[in-house]
């Protein structure tokens, strides 16, 4: 049964990712991307990596994707974009993501109901992740922090205003 759950959520992840790629509209694509991230979070959950699953939902599907949606919707302001946004959110577009995520919800409900008997692999909780990160993988954490530094400085450099194009 766990295998069937895994295949179903993997299928949802694949279908929603393909739908991300074929959308004409950025906001619709992002809706499917959120479903895709939720599905991969659910796969983590099935493997017993609860902590990774929660992080996937909170950080990717929650924070980063919501930010994406807002940035894309707010990029160009004005009367024209309000009409544009209305056309983005025409009723009916919610059906696809809703269908896929309700399938995921059903799976989640089923697993929680079965939790006592289900064999969900080796459970990796937050404590073990923390011990691994600050024990053997300490250098990797440091390297990741430097990667973030490089990304930060790089995005500042790309985003800075050019002095000769800005009035003093």
């Amino acid at each position: 049964m766990e295998l069937a759950l895994f295949y179903l959520s993997a299928l949802i992840a694949l279908v929603s990712t393909v739908l991300v790629l074929i959308q004409f509209n950025t906001v619709h694509a992002l809706l499917y991307l959120i479903v895709s991230l939720l599905a991969s979070g659910f796969i983590f959950y099935l493997l017993g990596a609860y902590f990774a699953a929660v992080l996937e939902v909170i950080i990717y599907a929650g924070a980063i994707m919501v930010l994406f949606v807002f940035v894309v919707m707010m990029l160009n302001l004005g009367q024209k974009t309000i009409a544009q946004e209305k056309s983005w959110l025409y009723p009916g577009i919610w059906r696809g993501p809703f269908l896929l995520s309700s399938l995921l919800l059903l799976e989640l409900g089923y697993t929680i109901a079965q939790a006592a008997s289900a064999n969900l692999g080796q459970v990796v909780d937050a404590k073990r992740v923390g011990i691994a990160l600050f024990g053997p993988y300490l250098l990797a954490v440091e390297a990741a922090s430097l990667l973030l530094l490089a990304g930060l400085v790089g995005s500042y450099r790309l985003g800075r205003p050019l002095r000769d194009k800005v009035s003093p």
Binding site: P136, Y137, L138, L139, A140, E142, A143, A144, L146, L147, L149, A150, G151, V153, G154, S155, Y156, R157, L158, R160, L162, R163, D164
Partner: protein
């Protein structure tokens, strides 16, 4: 972590610290000169600590890093070429006030990424090192003009794709064996496991992207042409040297050289890169595109030496590839440095019009550039010849006659287009305005002298490389 381990890590720590110091200095006061001097000081201090760590010998630092003489030598090569690139950046970016100080922070993080990459002995740090390197590179490429933005975006997209390949390969290998440490993968080479083989091929593909080997070379010319000249230098030397040094280390640690399939795939990739690089360079007239295609071909020669060394399975692998790598880095550093010295923030020295008549206007720069072109073509008395000689000797020793034949044909093609650049430099034409600063003149002359010196008397270089223990 013990004191010894911290001592072995010192070069990496100093490099990371200098990136942060330069960033803070920029935050306090935007001053191009201060940022440059701090960067150079950080790089030189790192070189000094590398020589200290060299005496220490091999030192595993946790499970993730292994600092040994091999990685220290590779780090020294990276840091030394980055110092030259820092100097190029100073001359290129300071001419106009456009707030370019962040270039130095990114330069330092790129070097740090390269150092982590060559010291890694674990997939986690391999990935992080490679990402730090490429995330630092693409904001440096995207610089004001639309062609350079295009270069930055192309590099970003393709390095994203190659990271995906890399992660998929790592996942397949981990799924099969449950280990992430390179040394523990060594028993794999004798088994014929399809998952692991696929994983290794995917990892090779990802590294080939970074080395611009043939099926994955499509980004090279556009990125080299679009990026500012010092950044092209950085990509051609530091990034490629780091990735190749890592590939060699990974290859030896995992004993992948015992796998016939992987060696055959690499032989095909090498032959294709040599042919494609040289053939595409034939019709080019833009200087940076010629250098880009020639760097594809040179990476192909390097891979051919690598394949021959793997078949021979002796210390020859290390000797051939390292001498070729040293020759490649020295020569390309010099050649790109001349281009960079003639270019500025506003105008790239790339068109035939800008570099024709170079011999009349800048006889000294033109002479230096001629030496580098000769070394790229592999003409005797230069280090390029020694490197090519090693590759020939290794491929004939290994009985790879078809590869040796391809080498002969493509070297002939190489001479044609390198000498055509020389002919254009002799034509009459308008004056180019770029000049080289005294520090630049000094660096360029010493690079040319090194190329000639090692070409005439390569023994010291060979001895250093022979003294390396197998990684």
């Amino acid at each position: 972590m013990s004191t010894d381990a911290l001592l072995a890590l010192m070069p990496l720590i100093i490099m990371a610290a200098s990136a942060i110091v330069v960033m803070l200095a920029i935050a306090i006061r935007r001053d191009f000169k201060i940022a440059f001097h701090l960067t150079l000081a950080g790089l030189l201090l790192t070189l000094a600590t590398l020589s200290l760590a060299f005496r220490h010998g091999a030192m595993p630092v946790t499970d993730l890093l292994l600092i040994d003489t091999y990685s220290i030598l590779a780090c020294a090569l990276i840091v030394a070429s980055a110092s030259v690139v820092a100097l190029l950046c100073r001359d290129y970016f300071q001419r106009v006030e456009h707030q370019n100080e962040e270039i130095f922070v990114l330069l330092l993080t790129a070097v740090l990424g390269g150092m982590i990459l060559v010291s890694s002995s674990h997939f986690a740090l391999l990935f992080l090192g490679l990402e730090i390197l490429s995330v630092s590179l693409f904001p440096m490429m995207a610089h004001r003009t639309s062609t350079s933005l295009e270069a930055g975006i192309k590099y970003l997209m393709l390095s994203g794709v190659s990271s995906a390949f890399l992660l998929f390969g790592m996942a397949l290998i981990y799924g099969e064996f449950g280990v992430l440490s390179f040394r523990l993968l060594a028993p794999w080479a004798v088994s014929h496991n399809l998952f692991a083989l696929t994983g290794f091929i995917l990892i090779l593909a990802a590294l080939s992207f970074k080395l611009s080997l043939t099926p994955f070379h499509l980004w090279t010319a556009d990125v080299y042409q679009g990026a500012p000249a010092p950044i092209s230098t950085l990509v051609a030397t530091v990034s490629k040297a780091a990735v190749f040094a890592f590939l060699l280390r990974f290859w030896v640690f995992t004993q992948a050289y015992r796998s016939e399939i992987l060696v055959e795939i690499l032989a095909l990739i090498g032959a294709a890169s040599v042919l494609v690089g040289n053939l595409l360079a034939l019709r080019q007239t833009r200087l940076k595109r010629i250098l880009a295609y020639s760097s594809i071909a040179h990476m192909g020669y390097l891979i051919i030496g690598f394949v021959a060394g793997s078949i021979l399975q002796t210390g020859f692998l290390l000797e051939t590839t390292w001498i070729y790598l040293a020759a490649y880095v020295l020569t390309n550093l010099g050649a790109f440095a001349v281009v960079s010295a003639l270019s500025s923030d506003e105008r790239e020295c790339d068109d035939p019009q800008t570099y024709s008549a170079l011999f009349r206007n800048h006889p000294w720069l033109a002479g230096i550039f001629m030496i580098h072109l000769f070394s790229l073509a592999g003409i005797p008395l230069t280090i390029g010849f020694i490197g090519k000689f090693y590759v020939f000797a290794a491929s004939i020793d290994a009985g790879l006659w078809w590869l040796a034949g391809i080498l002969v044909i493509s070297s002939g093609m190489g001479i044609y287009y390198y000498l055509r650049v020389l002919r254009l430099m002799l034509l009459p034409g308008v004056a180019v305005t770029g000049t080289a600063t005294p520090a630049m003149r000094w660096i360029l002359s010493s690079l040319a002298l090194l190329i000639l010196g090692f070409g005439l008397f390569p023994q010291p270089l060979i001895q250093v490389i022979q003294s390396l223990p197998k990684p």
